[in-house]
Symmetry: C2
Subunit: 293 residues, 2 copies
């Protein structure tokens, strides 16, 4: 598939996700309007939809029908959105803007933002449980995996560590752990969900997860580099004073580590033995040479 | 079973719940300590354990083995605890004390309290998904039901409505809706979980839920009456200015409505055709005449 055709496939999947996300939420104006409005605002504002597209492409890479993973994919976007709402809260990053729009607690209020995050997380579980296209065993596995992803060794732990580290000096291993728990775990879960829907198991499924874990580390360094250079969509210098691999390795060293992780992600996905479109999609964010899937 | 034997059964079940809750959480001191500490503080502080005991007694009432519903029961206590942490936050009730102890955000900090609530909610899903004693179909049904319970027509909606109503005049129907979503839905889910574990289905399971729904409404009026008289464990008058059935019906009328709900709860459970120990346990909180189960 040439680049234009691939891009158009990705755009089609993104449109599928946007449409389905809107269907899976309460209708506009449903009471209580503060809660449903905040959830719709946060989830339906424009976004890359990186995680659900990763789920969908991985499922396709391993032979699933194109729509088979759509609801599971949407569940991961709900969890991602919930984590962004929480990260932005006054007691955490106290952010006013997210992707150029007012953060949810600014557009609504703090109580409705917190409740919307909780409601979105919980909706994710409901969407998986209600996915009649998946075997009950697959749904149970996805729920168990999502709970691990969010829980005391996942996103919530990553966010707690992220808040704890401010102003402290961390080792590279500790920085990797924060980065992995704060963003990597959800990428791993999203990719593995795609594999799981396609019937991938055992070491091959683990390799899919390993590939996504490396991607997550690469993305984190990319974000840290963009933060230093001010080229990203976050306020430049917002994380000033927080230790990252850029501060410990320098810009050139961090860039090298990033490309190393990207390579390792490709190798892991090759080991899983399916298609490579999920990696191709992710690599596009790094300006890396395109691979032909 | 006489009252003393029944009380001793309840105490044994409570001890089972307390022990199992501690096992299902990260060990004390697990990193990140703010998050795990806040979760342990909130969940393992002394409590009635009303919801898990309701689950366990309902399961026993309908013939399940005594331990069969223990993990599911613990999941509902995790959700209840998470909802209390959130209700107490500065952006919601801004409470300093809960059951005579500092609220979680006071004992730790706001960020860790919010993250602990999210982590506990998510742990509840994991506990259900991992419950190897239940068929996968039962686990999927419990997850779907829990998601409904917490979501846009459940606890989060009830809390949002509760915040919205302050200073406004609501009809009795609207007050019933807030009360049901804020506390009733979780009682319904906890009782139905016990029935579901025992293999109860269809109209009998619906009657178990209906019984718990009536209990929830009775408990809410009881709380409102205690708030007016100052005999409860909350700060008396804390809800002053918030419309309740006590303000619209008066104390005598509210008491009558409360006892009516309690009777209706008994009738519904009798229709389900199992034992009555779950109702007997609940009725004990109202000083109502004891029933022999």
């Amino acid at each position: 598939m040439d680049d234009a055709a691939f891009l158009s496939t990705v755009e089609r999947l993104r449109a599928d996700v946007e449409r389905r996300l809107a269907e899976l939420l309460p209708a506009e104006g449903q009471s209580p309007t503060g809660l449903t409005g905040a959830a719709r605002y946060a989830l339906l504002s424009p976004g890359k939809r990186f995680r659900p597209i990763l789920t969908l492409l991985t499922a396709i890479d391993f032979g699933a029908a194109e729509g088979a993973a759509l609801d599971a994919a949407c569940a991961y976007e709900m969890v991602h959105t919930a984590s962004l709402i929480l990260d932005d809260l006054p007691s955490m990053d106290d952010a006013n803007l997210r992707r150029g729009l007012a953060t949810t607690h600014r557009a609504f209020d703090e109580a409705n933002a917190i409740l919307a995050a909780v409601a979105l997380l919980n909706r994710a579980y409901g969407v998986i449980a209600d996915d009649a296209g998946l075997a009950e065993s697959a749904r149970v596995e996805l729920v168990a995996q999502l709970s691990e992803t969010i829980g005391f060794r996942g996103l919530t732990a990553g966010q707690a560590r992220d808040l704890d580290r401010r102003g402290r000096t961390l080792s590279n291993d500790e920085i990797d752990l924060v980065n992995h728990q704060k963003t990597g775990v959800l990428l791993v879960a999203a990719a593995m969900a795609g594999g799981l829907v396609a019937g991938v198991t055992g070491v091959r499924l683990a390799a899919v997860g390993e590939s996504a874990r490396r991607l997550g580390l690469a993305f984190q360094i990319r974000d840290d580099l963009l933060d230093v250079t001010g080229a990203g969509d976050k306020d430049a210098g917002k994380d000033a004073g927080m230790p990252t691999l850029v501060t410990t390795l320098g810009e050139a060293g961090a860039r090298e580590a990033m490309l190393g992780y990207l390579d390792a992600a490709r190798e892991a996905l090759q080991r899983a033995g399916g298609g490579m479109s999920a990696w191709r999609y992710a690599a596009g964010f790094f300006g890396a040479p395109k691979v032909v899937a």
